[in-house]
């Protein structure tokens, strides 16, 4: 029993160690870009640290940015468990956001007690709806979800753009009208005064609760057992009597729903309307979050905080260096982490070898 613990924990440490090393490497490579434009990278990185970690407002902004990332990260991680690559989180989030906002300003007579859950459910179902097409196609015809979800992203953008432009935009603006006040979710600065001015809001708690639910679903329930089995060996799962089509369909839909929920942060907690581009690539960045977080809910929280902090960091360092260095850093983190997976595999294999 002690053997087992030390072995798994060692594998775990390798995993974390290599991932952290990969992140460090990205910052080192990023430093070269900063040097290229004649700025001291250390001063940029110090500024980042100062503006995010040592500053309560920066912290709040990080939480705000991390909230939807946690949800799309979970969405993509859930897909990965069943070997589904849901690149459609972006489109699912956009549709979820549209449905959420639409419910919010259409049923404006409802009290918060009904409207809040309705809007949250709407965001979820919007995502489910948008995941349904690729999910059904995958199960029925075997059409690969990577391409179909990318296509669905573009269709979602074009469709919501059409709806807003032709039907729902407020005159002189490119966004819809505001939702009913009843659908506004409280901001955290109501409770923590140091967060003053930050739109960080209570959807953060929804995100954290979803992490806990994810963990329980994947590791404790028969559904999770089946999902993991399908991801690792679909053929054995099917032979063993698991209904893999039903599971893949269900998993894909839940994944879409989680992506849809990511819209609540912006719609219900921040601007209270739908506008084109509100998702800001959060669906795509969710892939990076799932990846860096190793498809583990706690890892995902960590990764979402990292990417959220970087995302807020653009404002912090803008005066020192072109803020786009942040995007370069984000890309570098992805490159290094996916490349490092090979090292993790090698080390873990070696660990198994030494002990067996």
């Amino acid at each position: 029993m002690t053997m087992k613990l030390s072995k798994t924990s060692k594998g775990f440490l390798i995993n974390i160690g290599v991932t952290l090393a990969a992140i460090l490497a990205s910052f080192i490579v990023g430093a070269f870009f900063i040097l290229l434009v004649g700025v001291n990278p250390l001063s940029v990185y110090w500024k980042l640290f100062e503006g995010i970690v040592l500053n309560p407002y920066g912290l709040a902004q990080t939480l705000f940015k991390a909230t939807p990332l946690i949800m799309t990260g979970l969405a993509i991680a859930l897909g990965f468990k069943a070997n589904i690559f849901n690149i459609g989180a972006e489109g699912q989030m956009v549709v979820g956001g549209f449905v959420c906002a639409w419910l919010g300003f259409t049923f404006s007579g409802l009290p918060a007690f009904f409207l809040v859950p309705l809007c949250i459910l709407g965001a979820f179902l919007g995502g489910v709806l948008w995941a349904a097409v690729p999910a059904i196609l995958k199960v029925r015809t075997g059409a690969h979800e990577v391409i179909t979800t990318i296509m669905m992203n573009f269709i979602a953008l074009a469709l919501t753009n059409y709806l807003v432009t032709y039907f729902f935009h407020l005159p002189e603006t490119v966004h819809t009208q505001l939702t009913s006040q009843a659908a506004f979710l409280p901001r955290l600065d109501q409770y923590i005064s140091a967060f003053k001015g930050s739109p960080a809001n209570v959807t953060l708690f929804l995100a954290v609760a979803l992490c806990a639910a994810f963990w329980w679903l994947i590791w404790k329930t028969p559904y999770g057992y089946e999902t993991r089995a399908i991801g690792l060996n679909p053929s054995a799962a099917e032979t063993g009597g698991i209904n893999i089509r039903r599971n893949i369909l269900l998993t894909f839909l839940i994944s879409g729903g989680l992506s849809g929920l990511a819209a609540t942060n912006f719609i219900m907690g921040y601007k209270h309307y739908f506008e084109e581009g509100f998702s800001q690539g959060v669906g795509f960045m969710g892939i990076a979050v799932a990846l860096v977080g190793q498809n583990n809910p706690f890892g995902i929280i960590f990764a979402a905080l990292l990417f959220g902090a970087l995302s807020h960091g653009t404002l912090v360092i803008n005066a020192l260096v072109p803020k786009d260095i942040i995007q370069i850093l984000q890309a570098l983190v992805i490159f290094f982490v996916i490349s490092a997976n090979l090292l993790i595999k090698k080390y873990t294999a070696k660990l198994n070898e030494d002990r067996s």
Binding site: L232, N233, A237, T239, G240, G241, I242, D354
Partner: protein, 514 residues
Amino acid sequence: METTETFAIELSGVTKRFGGIYANKDASLKVRKGEIHALVGENGAGKSTLMKILYGMYRPDAGEIKVNGRAVTLKSPKDAIDLRIGMVHQYFMLVKTLTVAENVVLGEEPVKNGFSMDYAGAREETRRLIEKFNLLLDPDALVSNLSVGEEQRLEILKILYRKADILILDEPTAVLTPQEIKYFFDIIRKLSSEGKTVVLITHKLKEVLALSGSVTVMRQGATVARVETAGATESSLAQLMVGRPVVFQVERAPRTKEELEKSDTALSVRELKAMSAKGHAALNGLSLEIKKGEIFGIAGVEGNGQSELIEILTGLKRPVSGSVVMLGKDIDFSRNSPRRMFDSGIAHIPEDRHKKGLVLDYSVAENLILGRHREPAFSTMTAIDFKSVAAFSAKAAGDYGIYPPRTDLRAGALSGGNQQKIVVARELSREPRLLIVSQPTRGVDVGAIEFIHKKIIETRDLGCAVLLISAELSEILSLSDRVGVIYRGQLAGVFGAGEVGEEQLGLLMMGGKA
């Protein structure tokens, strides 16, 4: 005499480790020029690894390789090809979307005007070789349309195009029909008469005796003997392979005709017709009946409908027509699923444990409940009861001698025999009334084979009906109460225990009349 002779191949002291496991340990091989040499051994004895080292696919950890008397280092297949060594792998290495000629010239294409493919030249050279060695292939045929036998001849053709003098063939007859095997033997003899050296990896001793001039026997990664075929017999070679006298008999009392007649029918299959995944007719009106407490063995060359029959009986496939009455219930194929089949009292030990039997990245415990995880004993809708899973798996590991007895290990970390024991333990602990078993001892060590055979017979003795499908005739004959021969999707004959021998079965398997 032998010391002054130059050998086409001389391997000595070859050692290769994968992870912590020795695939080859101080292995050696000597092959004379122009002879057909057989390399034999049980599954996992290290034959393929040794040959992949010779072909430059693996680098040995230690050892010396001499080709035509000269010491060489092989870094990649390219080096082997340059030394005129060619290899036909057990699993064919063909590019399905290309033509025969394209597959032949790939990597050494004839070129015209500096950079274009000389397709006419490629075709012509391919045709010339086909005719010279009587390989019966069309240079312009797409590989995806070839039969298995044709694919194999194409593999040989690829080697000949590269002017190989040394041909390594890994289990070449495993996938061939008897007719194709005969034709294949002719080609090998033809190659030998043209002065080519042939190394034949096999575990079929009859082929060794029929074809080869000399034999190297491997066991557990090491070379245990090199003998001239002329002085060898099937049993002497088998003994060398296994390391002890081989008892092909399993202790059991076959059911008598009277016993079987009194027993109830567990499975009745009527006029079953089905298509293969590729869309060919796989089952052509197959019928059979199995009684409770009987082992019904099905012998046959692979690809005659066995897989489709199993898939239908386990709910993975729907037939075109026909009926199945299983344990008294008429199966409704439109609503069929593996889950329903399991619920109705069957158990299934699938043919390929890596592909279908196990999730290698799951722990032994998790694998022991695969397919049973929804049973009330192990879970509710909302949670798996890991305590009861642990208790169950610890008991199963003990009962079935799964080693090491630690159910938290990754299943992939266990040996082939112990992995198979996980599958057997899981399926038999369902206490099935109908057990469907396919190739239960493929790639399993001798100790585990005996154990698994014993368990299957115990299950029968408890009154379970057993459908046993195996490519090993000896396994079929030693376990079955009745034996059926499957040929082109139909049963070509059914016999009681002791009514039939290997010869007769072999003949029926090839479509002959008994």
